[in-house]
Every structure is written in C-alpha cells, then in structure tokens.
C-alpha cells in the first residue's frame, strides 16, 4: 500500500465500521434534537415564565453542567447511571421501580444522556440570551389576544431566534462528534462511536490509514451540517 493512492482504507472503514458510522450519526442526531428541544423549553420558560421565584430557581441551576469538564462528567455519569447507581437507587427509594428490575443505562442511552446533560445549558444560554433581546411588544400583543404561552413560544419566539438556535446546535454537534472520553467511559460495548474506533485503530494496530478514513467520514458529517447552516443563512439574507 505504501506510496500509492487508493480507496482501500475507505473500503475497509466501511466494511468494519459501517454500523458504528450509522450509530454515531444516530446518537449525535438524537442528542442534538433533544438538546434543541430542552434548550428552547428552558429559554422559553426563563423569558415567558410568570412565576418569578420559579424562574430565578431555574436560572440559577440550569447552567451548572456548563462548568463541568467532559472528562469529569463522564466519570459522574459512569457512576450515576450504573445498575446500582444513584439514579436507580433514587427510583427504588421513591418506589418507581423494583430493586430486582433496575437496569444499567451505560450504553447508547448513557451517551445520549451525557451529551444532553452537558450541551443543553450551552445552547440554552445562547437561546435565552437571544430571546431576552427580542422585542416584547409582539409577545404582549399575542398574550393580550389570548394566545397560550406554548403557542407564543412556538409561533412567535422560536422563529425569531432560529439563527441563534441553529448556530448553537451546530457547535454542539461538532463538539459531541469529537469527544472521546464519554463514549469510552460511559459505554464500553459495541456498537460504539467513531472516536473510539479511531483511537482503537491507532493504539492497537498503528493503522493511520483507516483511522484517517474514519476521521474524514466524521468531517463529511460536519460538512453536511455546515452546508445546512449556509443554506439557512442564505435563505435568511434573501428574506431581508
């Protein structure tokens, strides 16, 4: 192979890791969707919430995960989501689940929970900032006309902060795509994410060819997302 260009590395990458490529895309896709949903909900409540105490409480604690490094958080979740972890112990104490039937969430679900936990405050912070800067007149008018708060959020607020939300979600997509510690620690089994496969190709075989082919595939995913973003901003410009 030395010194010759070929697509052999890509063939091998797809042959060995086609499931992991799909797995990575699905995991990050679900995480990004959930992050978008939760951050809009948090931002929306901070802006439209009527109970000041509740808003203040939420504003105080929602951003804590922002300050927790990925590696520390992976360690937290590794213990929290285990079969006998604090989460299941809490559920058992509340009588929500039976102690015999608790299950470990340390698989694909654990990765999604960890990503959502870490990235939601980041996107929510951006979204809440954009929402706070909106002109409140239209919101007040809609409220006076009797629109529910959910309807105001979905039909008036979210369309106006769409660009901010999309930038936040893209940044979060790229970040989660390159995190190695979380899939490595939270989910040990297969299928796993591309970052773990890349590390494995190098540490076990010194195989830079296939590792870089996988790296390029993760870049293509980023490229696809960047393309969506560019198309979106172009459309915004046409509108104005």
């Amino acid at each position: 192979m030395e010194g010759r260009l070929s697509i052999a590395n890509f063939t091998k990458a797809f042959e060995f890791y086609d499931r992991d490529i799909l797995f990575t895309f699905v995991i990050i896709g679900i995480s990004t969707a959930l992050i978008g949903l939760f951050s809009v909900a948090i931002g929306g409540y901070l802006v439209l919430g009527e109970n000041r105490t509740a808003v203040a409480i939420l504003a105080w604690f929602y951003r804590w995960p922002l300050f927790v490094p990925f590696i520390v958080e992976a360690q937290c979740m590794y213990m929290f989501l285990a079969k006998n972890g604090l989460m299941n112990n809490g559920f058992v104490a509340l009588g929500l689940v039976d102690i015999e039937t608790t299950q470990s969430l340390l698989d694909w679900r654990g990765i999604i929970i960890t990503f959502v936990w870490k990235q939601t405050p980041f996107v929510a912070l951006m979204v809440a900032g954009a929402m706070a800067a909106l002109d409140r007149a239209t919101i007040e008018v809609a409220r006076n006309l009797g629109a529910s708060r959910l309807r105001i959020l979905v039909e008036i607020v979210v369309p106006q902060i769409r660009p901010t939300l999309i930038v936040g979600l893209i940044l979060s997509f790229v970040t989660t795509l390159s995190v190695l510690s979380v899939p490595l620690m939270v989910s040990g089994g297969t299928p796993t994410m591309l970052t773990v496969d890349m590390a494995y190709r190098i540490n076990a075989f010194g195989d830079y060819g296939v590792a870089n082919a996988l790296g390029l595939i993760s870049y293509l995913m980023t490229g696809a997302v960047a393309w969506i973003y560019l198309r979106e901003t172009m459309r915004e410009r046409e509108r104005t």
Binding site: N51, S181, M185, I202, N212, S218
Partner: protein, 270 residues
C-alpha cells in the same frame, strides 16, 4: 386562595425537582463516592464513610500529586505560550489594518469548527517523528493549538474595546509607542487578557483527547490519571481526582464573570 396557590406550585415544583435531580444527581454521585469507604449492593447510600481515600490521594509520594503538579505546570506553560502569540496577534488584529483580517480570525477558529480528534492523531504521528511524543513540550503544543481559539478571539476583543483616543493622547504628550502600549493599552486590556488566560488554563487542565494521544503513557496529567483509575474500577480515587479537576473550573468561572465585561463581550468576533 393560599391553597390554590400551593396547588399551583405542585406541577411546577415537581418539574423543577426532576430537573434539579437530573442536574445535581450525577454530581452528587461523585461527591458520595469520594467519601465512601464501602458502598455495596443493595445499600442505597454508602455504608461506611471516611477520608481514607483522600489521604491516599494526597499522600505526597502518591501519583495523584505528581499528576496534579504535571497538569498545573503544563497548563501554566500553555498559558505563557498562548499569550506570547495572542497578545501581539490580538493587538495587530484589533488595531492594525490587516488585509485578510476576517480570514485570519477564521483560521484561528477552524480547529474548533472541526472535530479535533482526527487532528490530534495526525499531530501525534508528526510529533513522533520529531521525538515530541510523550514529552511535556509536545503536550503543551497540543494544548496551545486548542487554547489559541479562546486566546486570540478574546484578546482581540479586549484590545478593540480600548479607546484609541487615549493612546493618541499619550502619544501627543510625547510618550513613545512602546511606553504607550505598556502604560495605557495593556493595563486597559488586562481584564480581558486575564479572562482569556483563565480560559486557556482551564481548557488545558481538563484536556483529555490530545494528552491521550500525544502525552500518554510517559506524561500523566490529572485527566489521564482519572481515566486510568476509573477503568481499573477504582471509583473512590477517580471521584476524588474528578473533584480536584472540578473545583478550579467552577471557582474560575465565577471569577471570569467579573473579568469579562459586557463591553468586551460585545466585541468578540466583531
């Protein structure tokens, strides 16, 4: 009326409670494990508490102290390297009329816009040829690459927020360009530069992927030690190490809010 209001708090309270459990539960698990001397199924909480593992970690000859020292030295060296580049670069980008300025700003952002792991594996391969793999210098360079994004962007914003008329006044009064920089521009931009230095320090302290490929196994930073302890099933040691990593992050973030003033923030990326 009060009963109605209390009833109104019920769904709100439950929702906030669930969210609080989701946010603080994982952190509580870390805290509990770091003081647990025995925690076996089916106990819901540790059955024996104590500081035994803390003593183990903080023993002067322990590997954790060595790793902490290594992590702090690497982080400080990374800050110095980053500032050596970002202060002149930030000044030039904020004050000078550079052609291609947006392109240069974008170039510093690029490492952040793509997944970094594929970059690190290739950096590790190139460093191997130069004999930089497994050395402190190699790890510092990788952390610098990562930290430059924050350093250059925030420093540029900090210099841009300094009123240029103050510099002109100093020049008109006969101060040299160098003296003006050190007595007027730099002190005024200092809060922003300090904030960027803190960001770089924290990013370096918590960096895992780059250190894993370039540093391990010769250079053991705190995150690498935590990972090894955790994979070996040593929950107490890894929890305490994680707490050591967590405390400066939270403390510094509280400080950063005071250093990063709105007038600087509004200039970021402008």
């Amino acid at each position: 009326m009060t009963a109605m209001r209390a009833l109104g708090w019920l769904p709100r309270g439950i929702l906030l409670g669930v969210l609080a459990f989701a946010v603080f539960g994982p952190l509580a698990s870390l805290l509990l494990w770091s003081f647990a001397e025995a925690w076996y199924f089916p106990h819901k909480l540790p059955s024996q508490w104590g500081f035994r593992f803390w003593e183990h970690v903080f023993r002067p000859t322990g590997r954790a102290m060595e790793a902490l020292g290594m992590s702090i030295s690497i982080a400080l060296l990374t800050v110095v390297t980053c500032l050596a580049i970002s202060v002149p670069a930030g000044l030039a980008l904020a004050r000078g009329r550079l052609p291609w300025r947006p392109l240069i700003m974008l170039a510093f952002l690029l490492p952040q816009a793509f997944p970094s792991l594929p970059i690190y594996i290739n950096v590790a391969r190139i460093f191997y040829e130069f004999g930089l793999n497994g050395t402190v210098a190699g790890v510092v360079l990788v952390h610098t690459l990562h930290g430059l994004v924050y350093a250059v962007w925030i420093t540029t914003a900090a210099f841009a927020a300094v009123d240029a008329e103050l510099e002109q006044a100093a020049r008109n009064l006969g101060a040299s360009a160098l003296r003006t920089f050190f007595t007027v521009t730099l002190p005024l931009a200092a809060p922003g530069i300090v904030a960027s230095a803190i960001f770089v320090f924290l990013e370096s302290l918590d960096e895992f992927t780059g250190s894993y490929f370039v540093g391990a196994p010769e250079v053991t930073t705190l995150p690498l030690l935590m990972f090894t302890a955790s994979m070996a099933g040593n929950y107490q040691i890894s929890s305490i190490t994680a707490l050591i990593l967590l405390v400066p992050s939270i403390a510094f973030m509280l400080v950063v809010e005071r250093f990063l003033k709105p007038d600087v923030l509004s200039k970021v990326g402008a």
